[in-house]
Amino acid sequence: MFAQSTFQWDYYECDTEIRRYQMNHMLKFNLNGEQVEVAVKSNEKLLDVLRDKLGVVSPKFGCGVAECGACTVLINDLSVRSCITFAVEVEGKNVVTLEGLQADGPTKIQKAFVKHNAFQCGFCAPGFIMSATELIAKNPSPDEEEVRHALAGNLCRCTGYQNIVDAMNEVAEDNRRGVK
């Protein structure tokens, strides 16, 4: 499974011990609806592969250890912290980032976040939107406490979260009333 790839320049730069461990692998998965193939090292994280090798930069680096939620992506419809996910783990899976969600323009959740000025610096926004998307897919009209529990793994230092909650409450209410 750990086939040699054309990315040999990485291979030669490491010392012997690391070299054995960092064999390249040709990873195939579905990213935002399209099949991609990319050579990755076995210890490379999904976040770094998305950002540095595939140019998909909506997932952000905030901590590197799954504490802040800024790197959240969906893998087979479940929200996952891409900073602690080995890239090789998504072999054959569906990975969705914000770029994929909004391929046909901003989603209902994004529009509600715009209307409510839900973010300030905006760095945590993509992660929040991914977690919120997972919630609404499972539970289209959550109550406020359900919203808060679903988003509790995403840290925001700017807003005090009030507008994020207000926007989500509006989405839930619209869904309850069948508003498109």
């Binding site: 030669y12 901590c63 250890v65 000025n117 300030q120 610096c121 905006g122 988003l151 009030q162």
Partner: protein, 784 residues
Amino acid sequence: MKETLKVVGHNAVRLDILEKVTATAEYTDDIAFGPNLLHMAVLGSPYAHAEIVSIDTSEAKKLPGVKAVLTGKDYPEKFGLYLEDKSIFPVDRVRQVGEQVAGVVATTYEIARNAVKLIKVEYKELPLILDPYDSVAEGAVLIHPDLGNYKIEPWLNAQPGTNVAHLRQIRKGDIEKGFLEADEIVEGEYYIPHVAHTCIETHISVSKFSLDGRLTMWNSTQSPHTQRNIMANALGMAHKDIRVIAPPIGGGFGGKAGISMEVMAAAGAKSCPGHPVKLRWSREEEFSNSSQRTGLRNKVKIGFKKNGKIVAFKHEMFWDVGASAEYGSNVVNATGFSATGPYYIPNVYIDSKACYTNNPTCSAYRGFGYSEFSFGVESTMDRAAKILGIDAVELRKINAIKEGEGVAYDVPMNPNGLIECIDKVAAEIEWGKEEKSDDPNKIIAKGFASVWKAPAMPANESSSAFIKFSEDGSINILVSGMDLGQGFLTAMAKIAAEVLGLTLDKVRVELPDTDRNPYEWQTVASHVTWSCGNAVKRAAIDARNKIFDTVQRAHFIDASQLYLEDNGVKCTTQDSFYIPFSDFVITGIQTEHNTWIGGPILGSGMFMPEYTNAMVDPNTGLGGHPMVHYTVGAGAVKVEIDKETGRMKVLKMAEAFDLGKAINPDLAKDQINGGFVQGLGTALWEECIFNEKGKMLNDGFTDYKIPTILDVPRDMNPILVEVPQPDGPYGARGHSEHTMIPVMPAIANAVANGLGVRITDVPVTSEKVAMRMNDPKYKEDMRK
């Protein structure tokens, strides 16, 4: 022509929200620099205080992929915002754990990190100081023996031969006499630990030194022009040859004010000309080697008359500024002038000391020292209220400073709505109404605090702005303030739109680039709406005058009859007269002879407060005008406390601030909500914990808890009060930092009101509340 405001003061969706919600905003780390990009990693000191005996970089240099290894031998230059006590890389000694000792530039970050591990450093440990009281103790080891030789702003008073980097004294009236006149004297001693900004985006700089000798930096920063100035001085380069670009910033809160790790990225780039070099802090590095909030040990002593009037106020503050005071010295200065809180007091004695320690360097943090000292002042006020038998809110109103009354340095107070803020918060929180929990094990208590803060800045800080029209009548505003999330871009757009009769969809404001955008000191001090807002307003008026001039020359209508509305020019005496901007702001106006009058419309504006003077008498703090104005406000919380476990849940908050005029009322309220929650973290949980060797033990979000969406009150009540600032744009003054300040004392006061236990050291953790609840040592009703 109507006088009512059409844009300013109305709610609006922030200009940059769509780019943030769609991840279109390119933060520094999102920019593609191509395969030529190099990566940098830094070796941090394991010791809090040690001599550097030797550094051996030979093994690191041999690792394939390493392009350069940097130490203090190559980059010993000193730098700093107010006091140049920091080295790009230290030469002879390290002063905090994590301080950079060497840097490696390599083709990948992984190689750079591996190379860092190959650098061998021999240290000789020195005695270390971790507490500000130890810093000023007799015989303490000197952390900066060369303090007397550092370049320093003339308004700072360093004390060479000691660990005091700056001393600000206030001596107003006669403090001895004041205390003799007092009927009650209430004293307290308080402690505030270091806390961290924890922007979700860590510090990052990408720097490129091109072969033609120019340095370009993409920095996550609040201070592009100030960084350019510091870099020019440190590297001996011309300002014009340095370009600082400020992409969107993932949080600032003061932590990205001034300059810190960016100097290392610039040094790395200088060692590898032609390559962009990226230095991005890990979360651990962000905690230990960017900056933290100043720690404080302070003693408050207040003398009251029986009627509640304060007659004497003594405040000694020992600030733990950490290993460098290059920025923290100004926190010490600003609070030295202001540590009375928002009260009129005839006799004031303040000592504010910047004490070097071997803790991480401290600099600006939202609130700029006011959160720290206000905890002691507002806790003491509440204890005094109980001793005097006066309601705590009433006691604050009795002493609330009014327009024209002298502040601590005896300059008249600006117009303000402090009483209105206090009353509105008290009404919202239903002050005085006793409330009971449904759970017999829990009580419900309320706490209150009133606060103030002034922008802390050099007397000659300044802002400037350009406005340029395009063919369709839309404008681009060029400014160098940063939108940290507070809504700066939207505020500037609204101010220009108001003057120029534009709808908001015709206005674009972009983030700074020092090559193209005009000068701004820094986006700090909650002052850009006021300062840069004035510059933008003047630039808009300049553009308006040029529009009037063009129309006057083409249509022979006197400028005094013209006004701007609906994206064009109208006339007060001819209802049918209307020329849309798109007809002439680039092309000019065609005459009957087919000649053209006018040309591209541009406006420029600048602002600097011309009444400020930082050169006070160093012994008394009097004789100058160091602060421009104060923004006042009040805050209160309703807390449910478990009587067994001490666990607290904040059910409701109310905060009111007098921001003069809300340019964006909804965004202004968002600042109150966000600042309150940041304050809530520092009040209940946040604390940088160090071991006896000065190493931070909780440098990650698992052990350093910031509030999540579950931890915040469900009932948030931001309140805006508007007593106009005479020299503010449309009367505006800042309030974004202030929103944090009331929270720590309000929580401690609520705990004291509910359980009779006085917590004098934050954070007010459940553990402390539970352990001290029945300990007489912490009982509330003490005079001392």
